[in-house]
C-alpha cells in the first residue's frame, strides 16, 4: 500500500527541516481508535462575548480596525461540534505577535494581546471580536511574507484541528506557501466571508465556518 507523502512548504525553511521524507504509514482498520484525543464536552463558559479589542475594561481600544469573526463548527455530516474549545491567536495591526518568541521590529500595541479561548455553543456556533491582523514578513532573507491570518485550534469531540483563516485581497495571499499547498480549496474553505455587522462596535464581520473530521472514524460511523 502506498502511503501519503507530505509536501514541503515552498520557500519555508522550517518546512524543509521538519517535514518527514518517508510516506505516512496506513493505520490498520482494527486499531483506529486512539489517534486523536477524545475530550469530554466542556461546560459552557458563560462569560459572554470574547472581546480581544480591549485588553481590560476601561483601557483604550486596540489599534487598528475592529472586526467580528463568527461561524459554526460541524463535522462532515453537518452535525454541530458542541462545546469545543476554540483557541484563537493572531498578530496585531502592525503584524507583531504579543509572544515572547516574536523578536521582530514591528510595533507592539500595549492594548492588544490577540490570544483567547472560547467555547462553541449548542449549535457549534462561535463569535468573537478582535483586530484585523497585519501581514508580516516571515523570512526577510528571501522576502517571504505571511498574509493577514488568524490561527484557530479546535479541540473537542474526536477531532483535532489547527487551521488559519485568511482575508481576501491581501497582496501576499498568492505567494503564501500554505495557500499554495492547499490549492483550489483555499478560497472556498479558508477565507473569511465578509458581512455587515449589526452595530458599530466593529467595522466588518467575517464568517468562518469550520468542518472537522473525526480523526478516529470509529466515532463517526
Amino acid at each position: 500500500m502506498s502511503g501519503k507523502i507530505l509536501r514541503i512548504g515552498p520557500t519555508d525553511n522550517t518546512s524543509d527541516e521538519r517535514t518527514p521524507r518517508s510516506p505516512l504509514l496506513a493505520i490498520p482498520k482494527t486499531a483506529r481508535r486512539g489517534f486523536a484525543p477524545w475530550l469530554n464536552p466542556r461546560p459552557a463558559s458563560g462569560t459572554g462575548l470574547l472581546d480581544l479589542t480591549h485588553i481590560a475594561p476601561g483601557k483604550p481600544r486596540a489599534q487598528g480596525s475592529a472586526i467580528e469573526v463568527s461561524g459554526r463548527i460541524s463535522d462532515g455530516y453537518g452535525r454541530p461540534l458542541r462545546r469545543a474549545v476554540i483557541e484563537v491567536w493572531s498578530a496585531n495591526t502592525h503584524g507583531r505577535y504579543a509572544h515572547k518568541d516574536d523578536q521582530t521590529d514591528y510595533e507592539l500595541d500595549p492594548d492588544f494581546i490577540g490570544m483567547g479561548k472560547l467555547i462553541s455553543d449548542d449549535d457549534g456556533g462561535y463569535v468573537f471580536h478582535t483586530i484585523l491582523p497585519g501581514h508580516y514578513i516571515a523570512r526577510p532573507d528571501i522576502g517571504r511574507w505571511r498574509p493577514r491570518h488568524i490561527h484557530f485550534s479546535i479541540l473537542g469531540g474526536a477531532s483535532r484541528l489547527i487551521t488559519q483563516m485568511y482575508f481576501k485581497g491581501d497582496p501576499h495571499n498568492d505567494t503564501d506557501p500554505m495557500r499554495i499547498l492547499m490549492g483550489d480549496k483555499w478560497e472556498a474553505l479558508q477565507v473569511g466571508k465578509e458581512y455587515a455587522t449589526a452595530d458599530n462596535t466593529t467595522d466588518v464581520g467575517y464568517r468562518f465556518d469550520i468542518t472537522v473530521a473525526g480523526k478516529d472514524a470509529v466515532f463517526f460511523e
Partner: protein, 212 residues
C-alpha cells in the same frame, strides 16, 4: 468510491501550520503531570507511575523549537476515554489521559503506564500499551505517532507497531533507562521529524482515503 464517502459531504477545513507563536499561556503546566488530575487533589490514578521523556529533532539533528506536543493514552485498566464509554465504572476517575506542552525540543511527561487497550468497539484488535503523540510545529500541519514500551510482550502482535516496516519498528519503542527519577521508571522516546532515523508517522486522515 464506497457509499461512506458520499455520506461525508462537506469538504473539510484544511489543516494549517500552528506557526511559531502558539500562545504559551494557553497551556497549563500541570498538563504534563497526569499522575494527578489537578495539583490541588490528593487522589492518584491507579497504575505504575512512569516518566516518558525525549527530544524532538529536525533533519539536521537540531532540537525543534516551539513545537506543541499532545499526548493521549489509556488508563491503567486499558480504558481510553471515548463517547462509547462515558460513565463506565471501569474508567479511572482520577485519570483523563490527555497532556500537552509547548517545548523547545525537549519534553518530559509524568504519567502512568497505560494498560493494554482491550477491544471495546466492534472489530477492534487488542493493543500493546501505547501513548499517542501528536506534534504541531511551524513547517508542517500535524504529525501523529505512537510510543510503545520496551519489554511489553504484546508489542510483537500490536497491529500499529507491526504496521511499521521491521527495520524502523524500534523507533516506535521507548527504551527504559537504568536509573530512575524519584523512584519512578524512566522511558526515553526521541522523535526525529525528518531524515536519518526518521520516526514513522501515521496517516490518520479520516474516511475518504482509507475507505476507498
Amino acid at each position: 468510491m464506497k457509499s461512506r464517502d458520499t455520506k461525508n459531504r462537506k469538504p473539510l477545513t484544511c489543516e494549517d501550520t500552528v506557526g511559531p507563536y502558539y500562545p504559551v499561556q494557553f497551556l497549563d503546566d500541570d498538563r504534563m503531570d497526569l499522575t494527578v488530575l489537578h495539583p490541588g487533589l490528593a487522589h492518584r490514578p491507579k497504575g505504575q507511575q512512569i516518566v516518558l521523556k525525549g527530544r524532538v529533532f529536525d533533519i539536521n539533528r537540531k532540537l525543534a523549537t516551539g513545537v506543541v506536543l499532545e499526548f493521549w493514552q489509556a488508563d491503567a485498566n486499558g480504558m481510553m476515554r471515548g463517547p462509547h464509554n462515558i460513565g463506565s465504572p471501569a474508567l479511572d476517575p482520577a485519570f483523563d489521559g490527555f497532556a500537552r506542552c509547548r517545548v523547545d525540543g525537549k519534553y518530559c511527561l509524568k504519567t502512568i503506564m497505560p494498560g493494554e487497550l482491550a477491544p471495546e468497539v466492534a472489530g477492534e484488535a487488542a493493543r500493546a500499551p501505547f501513548i499517542n503523540i501528536t506534534i504541531f510545529s511551524d513547517g508542517f500541519s500535524r504529525l501523529v505517532t505512537q510510543a510503545f514500551f520496551e519489554g511489553q510482550s504484546r508489542n510483537a502482535i500490536d497491529p500499529v507497531l507491526q504496521a511499521a516496516p521491521e527495520p524502523v519498528q524500534s523507533r516506535l519503542v521507548a527504551t527504559r533507562l537504568n536509573e530512575e527519577l524519584d523512584g519512578v521508571p524512566v522511558y526515553v522516546f526521541d522523535i526525529v521529524l525528518a531524515g536519518d532515523g526518521e520516526t514513522p508517522f501515521f496517516n490518520d486522515e479520516p474516511i475518504l482515503e482509507d475507505q476507498a
